[in-house]
């Protein structure tokens, strides 16, 4: 026993010490205190030890109290409804679920519902029962994607708890100021102190918080120590300005273009190019504009680009075509503006430079430059000499960076277009990013159209960017496509990714429409053996999960 409870009193302790010493050495070597040596000595020793043992145990007293922890701050949020609290405990208890392959059976995968549950609970503003916090923190520890929502829900007591258990340190890192309240922006002294003395994470948090409320103060603060910060810290500080970036940030970013570190320069340039009114954007517009022009004299090569559907067969009239003249050198001015001179292995230098210029140039440049055409018309123009891929890819990156919905729409094209599913100019990953610039309804509609035309095999990435729960047209398109896949006789696990998404994202009100799919269908001749049963099982899981999600939402206080 450590410093627990003192045995009764000092004389007793002496007696006990003597007994232990004798027992260790053996009665052959040492006679127990107060007994005669001889064959009865061990028994006498044990008698005395038994008395002392019970005496010592019976005499135990409480220890002195250690320093008690500071009480956790009160959580002002209302407590979870009891049913929701039970549900949360179940979702957390299911955590070490079956991982990886194999059949998933007909039971819902509770772990996957946790993010959704947390989102609803956060939206409703409930506080967790304190006793689930350890399980919640453990779950968040294992899954970084869960952390922001889990920590928001867990609230201040979880941070209090995390300070007591090293396993949960991540919570302190992930939360601004390590849970300690950030100083008020007005409180110059404390802001300065935290900035000068705080840990790196605390300083980043301070800067982001300040920047969102008082951008000028944040820049001034950063400027006070900018020159002495380490390169990787400068990079992170710069990056923390990304949210809420405004025209006022331009002078500071311009200055950072001359930074010693290449990564800092590149990030500054990237941020500047996201400000369409910036001087850098204007310089890039001039450079990029010089490389791209309309050539009215040229006739697009037949079948060269596949973008001239409107051209009547055998027409001889000249079609306006985009001509590209990639830069011949990467001058110091370009480099200063963040253009990386050295191309990655396997890429031509000139096309590498072109891509960077077009990506950084404001998209508003192009209608002006290309004869007042709309983005859609521009994208439809043929591009000479195989430059289309390079040019369109750069426009995609620019549309994403500048969050330009009109250009995104133009670059995405019609979801049902034949090349939309094939290896077209715009990859699925780029499409997913472009979709991110559209509003939720438009995104869902486009993906629904894509699935209706091309099926599910390529839809996974696109579905991932759609808002949850899926809008009705999208949900219907997915269910129809699953139904078609089933009728085609393949196994459901070819679609397990989409199935999993559907379980999490389909609107629970769709569940009743799925009932018809639960029966085991007659197997068509060309079907994989037993597939029908597996499909019924998969749909069963889908319906069960949807019902569960509906119940979850209900428990958290209505739809």
């Amino acid at each position: 026993m450590t410093r627990t409870s003192a045995p009764a009193d000092a004389p007793g302790a002496d007696v006990w010490e003597g007994l232990v010493t004798t027992a260790l050495l053996g009665t052959d070597r040492r006679t127990p205190p107060g007994t005669a040596p001889g064959p009865d000595a061990p028994a006498a020793l044990l008698d005395a030890a038994a008395v002392e043992t019970v005496r010592r145990r019976a005499g135990r007293r409480p220890a002195r109290a250690a320093e008690r922890p500071q009480p956790a701050p009160e959580d002002p949020r209302p407590a979870l409804p009891p049913a929701a609290a039970r549900r949360l405990a179940m979702l957390l208890a299911d955590r070490p679920g079956p991982s990886g392959g194999g059949r998933r059976g007909a039971a819902p995968d509770l772990t996957e519902l946790l993010p959704q549950w947390l989102a609803v609970a956060n939206a409703r503003g409930f506080a967790p029962p304190p006793q689930v916090l350890p399980a919640l923190l453990d779950a968040a520890r294992g899954r970084t994607d869960l952390r922001p929502a889990a920590l928001e829900f867990a609230g201040s007591r979880a941070l209090w708890l995390a300070r007591l258990n090293p396993d949960w340190r991540f919570a302190l890192r992930a939360t601004p100021g390590g849970g300690a309240a950030l100083p008020h922006p007005e409180d110059d002294e404390r802001v300065q102190q935290l900035w000068q003395e705080g840990l790196f994470a605390e300083r980043v948090a301070l800067l982001s918080a300040l920047h969102s409320r008082e951008p000028a103060a944040a820049r001034d603060l950063l400027a006070t120590t900018w020159a002495t910060e380490r390169a990787e810290d400068r990079l992170m500080f710069l990056d923390s300005l990304r949210a809420g970036l405004g025209p006022d940030d331009e002078p500071f970013l311009e200055q950072a273009l001359a930074d010693r570190s290449r990564n800092v320069r590149a990030t500054a340039a990237e941020l500047l190019s996201a400000l369409p009114g910036s001087a850098l954007a204007a310089r890039m517009a001039v450079r990029a504009g010089a490389c791209v022009a309309i050539d009215h004299m040229r006739t697009a090569q037949p079948g060269g680009t596949g973008a001239e559907d409107a051209e009547p067969a055998g027409a001889t009239k000249s079609t306006p075509t985009i001509a590209v003249e990639a830069p011949h050198e990467c001058d110091p001015g370009m480099e200063r503006d963040g253009v990386v001179a050295k191309a990655p292995a396997g890429r031509g230098e000139r096309s590498w430079w072109l891509g960077q210029l077009v990506e950084a140039a404001p998209l508003a440049t192009w209608p002006r430059r290309l004869g007042g055409r709309t983005p859609r018309e521009i994208v439809a123009l043929p591009v000479a000499d195989d430059w289309q891929g390079e040019l369109h890819a750069a426009w995609c990156r620019a549309a994403v960076r500048q969050r330009d919905a009109e250009w995104s729409r133009a670059l995405l094209g019609e979801p049902s277009a034949p090349d939309a599913g094939g290896p077209g100019a715009v990859s699925l990953a780029e499409r997913a990013k472009l979709l991110g610039t559209l509003d939720a309804a438009e995104r869902a509609e486009w993906v629904a159209g894509f699935i209706a035309a091309h099926g599910l095999s390529e839809a996974f990435q696109l579905l991932g960017v759609c808002a949850v729960p899926w809008a009705a047209p999208l949900g219907r398109a997915v269910v129809d496509a699953l139904n078609i896949a089933r009728d085609a006789g393949s196994y459901p696990w070819s679609f397990s990714g989409v199935m999993g998404l559907a379980e999490r994202c389909l609107d629970p009100s769709e569940a009743s429409r799925l009932d018809a799919l639960l029966a085991v269908p007659d197997e068509p001749e060309n079907a994989s053996p037993g597939a029908g049963g597996y499909w019924a099982e998969a749909f069963q899981r889908l319906v069960t999960t949807l019902r569960l999600r509906a119940a979850m939402t209900e428990e958290l206080g209505g739809a």
Binding site: T27, R29, A43, P134, L164
Partner: protein, 450 residues
């Protein structure tokens, strides 16, 4: 009703076998050779110990009272159901009156059979008034005497071994390791002194428990010596203490205390698992009697014990105490209403009172490891590498046991408290406090910590 007379035929027994291999294996065991201490009771329970390949015989028990078919339990690892031991035992019982004499079931068999019967009765909604008297009191007395003689010989032998150990010094125990103790424990099993065997086995682990092991080893040796001496002089002890000694020695006893009816709040339920047996401990608190009592329920290895009472429920029921002074153990008797959620909380005490309570309890049972206590207004506080429960209003605290520090329940307790006082039920003893259930200071349900 002379049920005892109706024994099955071998064919009836063999019809129960799950497959031909089991039938064959069961037939091999259907002879007296491997069996010991077999018997059957008026309640239609058949039991026996079957010598297997291991040192410890398998405990096999079959309940044939149920009209729906027999029920089996065996401590063997087989997944066949019934296993060959159960089949063999039934074959033996069917064929050989002498090998499976009528008698009183040993504790391990009776526990299981009684639990089954209780549930069967409940299911049927009727209370059977089957007469339960010992078939032959004289035979039972003789058996008990024989067993007592064997236990006595075990106790004498153990005393001898302890004396040898102390003559040579505890320092030698560090080198001899587990072997010495395992062998001694096996001798105690042979002597049917399970209580001694269990304690002896634990002695083997002490030298590897780090600093201070000689103190702990001497303590345990001394208590073992005290138990042995208590057994050898049991005639001179007061009745209650003598019963405690008998139960600590591992002798079977039946819960023959007067039934106590109360609303019993389920304070805690947790399982201790060893390779052979899962032991479930359920603490109950009487709303009116303010008594805290313990129910034990057993499950064969890998199977959950039958009795399950979720924490926070209360049930209206009768319990009967097992003999022995200071023993909290009871058997669950008639239940008058199914368990239902209840807002009852046990009254709490300070840490000083809890420490005194353990001291008092040692008076009745010096071998007691811990007592059930409810602490009121305590704050979990980190104390170096460990934790303690500190009185909110006094400078006093109980340390947690080393085992409790590493359990996830500790963090639930800390989270529930959030630095504020909570009420905590647990076990407190010389190793420290083991929190089992907690309640927030304000309104809120019981939170299980185990």
């Amino acid at each position: 009703m002379t049920q005892q007379g109706v024994r099955w035929t071998a064919d009836q027994v063999l019809a129960l076998a799950p497959d031909a291999a089991s039938r064959k294996a069961g037939c091999k065991l259907g002879a007296a050779g491997p069996w010991s201490e077999a018997g059957s009771s008026d309640e239609r329970t058949v039991w026996g110990l079957c010598k297997g390949s291991g040192s410890k015989p398998y405990q096999t028990v079959v309940d044939i009272a149920d009209a729906a078919g027999p029920a089996y339990k065996c401590s063997c690892p087989s997944r066949k159901f019934p296993c060959k031991h159960a089949l063999g035992l039934l074959l033996l019982w069917a064929a050989d009156d002498a090998a499976v004499p009528p008698g009183q079931a040993p504790e391990w068999a009776e526990e299981w059979a009684a639990g089954r019967r209780r549930r069967a009765e409940k299911k049927a909604g009727e209370i059977s008034g089957a007469p339960s008297g010992s078939a032959d009191p004289e035979a039972a007395r003789r058996r008990a005497e024989r067993r007592a003689e064997r236990v006595t010989s075990g106790a004498v032998e153990l005393e001898q071994r302890l004396a040898d150990l102390l003559r040579g010094g505890l320092a030698t125990a560090e080198q001899s390791g587990y072997g010495l103790w395992e062998e001694t424990a096996a001798r105690m099993v042979d002597a049917q002194a399970q209580g001694l065997a269990g304690r002896v086995r634990e002695l083997g682990a002490i030298p590897s428990t780090g600093a201070g092991w000689p103190v702990r080893l001497l303590e345990e040796c001394a208590l073992l010596h005290l138990l042995g001496q208590g057994w050898l002089r049991r005639e001179r002890l007061p009745d209650g203490l003598a019963a405690t000694v008998r139960s600590r020695m591992g002798l079977p006893a039946s819960a023959d205390g007067p039934p106590l009816r109360d609303r019993w709040l389920v304070l805690a339920q947790y399982d201790a698992t060893d390779p052979r047996l899962t032991t479930r401990r359920i603490w109950l608190h009487g709303a009116d009697s303010h008594r805290t009592v313990l129910l034990l329920s057993y499950g064969a290895a890998g199977r959950a014990p039958e009795l399950a009472l979720p924490v926070g429920l209360a049930l209206e029921a009768e319990v009967s105490a097992y003999p022995g002074s200071g023993q909290p153990r009871v058997a669950l008797g008639e239940q008058f209403a199914p368990p239902a959620p209840a807002a009852i909380r046990p009254p709490g005490m300070t840490t000083s009172r809890a420490a005194a309570r353990y001291g008092d309890a040692l008076r009745d049972d010096p071998w007691l490891e811990s007592v059930p206590v409810t602490l009121d207004r305590v704050v979990p506080a980190p104390d170096g590498g460990s934790w303690q429960l500190a009185d909110a209003d006094e400078d006093a605290a109980l340390p947690l046991t080393p085992a409790a520090r590493s359990r996830p329940g500790l963090w639930r307790l800390v989270a529930l408290s959030g630095g504020a006082p909570v009420r905590v039920f647990g076990e407190y003893g010389h190793q420290g406090f083991t929190p089992l259930t907690a309640w927030p200071e304000g309104p809120g349900d019981a939170v299980a910590l185990c």
